[in-house]
């Protein structure tokens, strides 16, 4: 008796896939496990404890860097999402007009250039402005983050808009709604899942950034990732694991919500 021949099967592919999933998660799981180590080594296990979480919580540098990260990410993600929504409304649901291709290319430009090049460019540009204006606050980091968050916020919003036709807005206009009222009462509620997805993507991207922040920041403006990068040069204790674990948890939470918002959209 011949077993059923599965045309989809390729020899060894499942094994390789399993190895990949294992290899992807083994380092992350190890990292999380050692965050709970009672000893001060990230290799020798000495029992379960929460001491490194307490230590991180009481480390002023860590707390300051975390607050700074959240401040920058909130401002950058909010502004990026607002301007990306406007740009998405301006570049969808229309016949091609002069400059449309230019706008696409320009908005996606930060994705095309290696981060290190943008970082260097901003270092040069902002160091000039710092000399001219004397201002050296968080504004530079917020501006830089906003710029590279825009394409990430733009993508899901544009994708959502392209699946919406104009008939409801036209109906609203026929019923004497002003353009603003039509946007607020019709377009916005329909577009909301896309905007939310864009906002979360932008937030995660800003929170994760290392390279641009490392180059643009002034003294004492470490964000959580640049603080961690600085720590790698010293003796590493599980405190870094504890910080990473919390960071990881926040990212996974946001990604999970994002994943299900965008999946649901596909199924509609």
């Amino acid at each position: 008796m011949a077993s059923r021949f599965d045309i989809r099967r390729q020899t060894g592919f499942t094994t390789i896939a399993m190895i990949c999933f294992f290899a992807l998660y083994l380092p992350i799981v190890t990292l999380v496990v050692y965050a709970f180590n009672a000893g001060s080594s990230i290799a020798i296990w000495e029992g379960v404890s929460l001491r490194w979480f307490y230590q991180a919580w009481n480390n002023d540098q860590v707390v300051d860097a975390s607050i700074r990260s959240l401040q920058i990410a909130s401002v950058a993600a909010t502004i990026a999402t607002i301007v990306a929504t406007m740009a998405a409304l301006a570049t969808t649901r229309t016949k091609p007009y002069p400059g449309l291709g230019f706008k696409y290319a320009f908005i996606n430009q930060p994705l095309m250039v290696p981060e290190i090049v943008t970082a260097v460019a901003l270092l040069i540009f902002f160091s000039r402005i710092k000399i001219w204006t004397g201002y050296s606050g968080l504004g530079y980091l917020m501006a830089a983050h906003t710029a590279f968050c825009i394409p990430f916020a733009y993508l899901p919003i544009r994708a959502r808009l392209e699946n919406m036709d104009l008939s409801l807005e036209i109906a609203a206009a026929d019923l004497y709604a002003t353009p603003w009222k039509a946007f607020r009462r019709v377009t916005f509620p329909l577009l909301w899942p896309g905007i939310l997805a864009g906002l979360m993507l932008a937030f995660v991207i800003s929170l994760d950034d290392v390279v641009i922040t490392e180059f643009v920041k002034s003294g004492g403006q470490d964000t959580l990732p640049t603080y961690m990068l600085g720590q790698f040069r010293r003796v590493i204790t599980p405190e870094i694991n504890a910080i990473s674990t919390v960071f990881l948890l926040i990212s996974i939470l946001i990604v999970t919500v994002f994943f299900f918002i965008s999946r649901k959209k596909d199924q509609e």
């Binding site: 390729q10 406007m86 409304l89």
Partner: protein, 306 residues
């Protein structure tokens, strides 16, 4: 009285103007904090380095010259800058190898996900999405804990009696290879999956009906069908790998620099901003060539890509 045609034209003109106004804030922010400064880098690459970093506003081509050449300090003759050339070569080589390895591991993984029943697919996809969006620094740190001298790999091998001394993996090209393959794998799997999802398996069936074996079906049917995904994934891995900064800094140390670290060096201890600028533009030029090749290969296939 304006004719109906003129009224329509006027409305269209107004619509286009409104659309420019609406997109203006995004375009202005990107110009001020991303695209515009790139132009300044071009100018800086033609200036003279200042004594404490920054530049002196005096035209010079030394920055560009030192990308590939170095001036002998004694007799002022020019020679190839071996250190820079070897870093260029290492960056291109490691990025290329990373692309190959992520493809070798990513292809079967994406195929595995794409051939699961629809309900299961989301779960596997989700497992790829999580590392995709978690901090690159944390993932680099995680892989470091695995391959360092006191890490899991060495500890297990010693416990099993296979080796007596830990294998030095950190600060080698091997560590960079493993680290980059690890952090960039999700970037390869997602576009591959996107084009595999669309495979029409009736074509595969037809292949078997014509007496092809599994390998022939893979090579002659499946791979040509997912070629756009292979190209997209390769670009998505190759470009960030070429400009990698965090992974070589954490895993490679000072001896195994890549282009990103060489550029940073010029803005830090090297105090040679014009050279750093010239190197940045060179890096961007390589990336642009890669992107152009990508656009051309996509264009030839009638714009269909996954």
């Amino acid at each position: 009285m304006a004719s109906a045609e003129e009224v329509a034209k006027e409305a269209e003109r107004r619509d286009i103007r409104d659309r420019w106004l609406l997109s203006a804030p995004a375009l202005i922010i990107i110009f001020l904090a991303a695209t515009g400064p790139l132009l300044i880098v071009v100018i800086y690459s033609f200036l003279t380095p200042g004594p404490y970093g920054d530049v002196v506003w005096k035209f010079s081509t030394d920055g560009w010259l030192s990308v590939l050449m170095q001036r002998d300090i004694f007799d002022d003759t020019l020679a190839f800058a071996d250190a820079h050339l070897s870093i260029f070569w290492r960056s291109v080589k490691l990025s290329f190898l990373t692309t190959i390895f992520t493809l070798l591991f990513g292809f079967p993984t994406a195929y595995f996900i794409a051939t699961r029943p629809a309900r299961q697919r989301n779960i596997w996809l989700f497992l790829i999405t999580i590392p995709f969006w978690t901090n690159l620094l944390i993932r680099t740190f995680a892989i470091q804990e695995v391959i360092r001298n006191e890490g899991i790999v060495n500890t297990v091998l010693i416990k099993l009696g296979i080796i007596s001394q830990p294998i030095q993996m950190m600060f080698t090209d091997f560590a960079l290879m493993v680290g980059m393959t690890y952090v960039y794998l999700p970037l390869m799997v997602l576009p591959l999956y996107a084009s595999m999802e669309k495979i029409d398996f009736r074509l595969v069936e037809a292949g078997y009906d014509l007496y092809a074996n599994r390998f022939q079906v893979l090579r002659r049917v499946i791979i040509p069908l997912v070629k756009p995904g292979i190209i997209a994934g390769s670009i998505l891995v190759f470009i960030p790998a070429l400009g990698a900064y965090v992974t070589p800094r954490v895993l490679g140390g000072t001896k195994n620099m890549m282009l990103g670290n060489l550029i940073e060096l010029q803005f830090g201890q090297g105090r040679n901003w014009p050279l750093g600028s010239a190197l940045s533009i060179s890096l961007m030029a390589i990336v642009m060539v890669a992107l152009l090749l990508y656009v051309r290969s996509v264009g030839r296939r009638g714009g269909a890509h996954g």
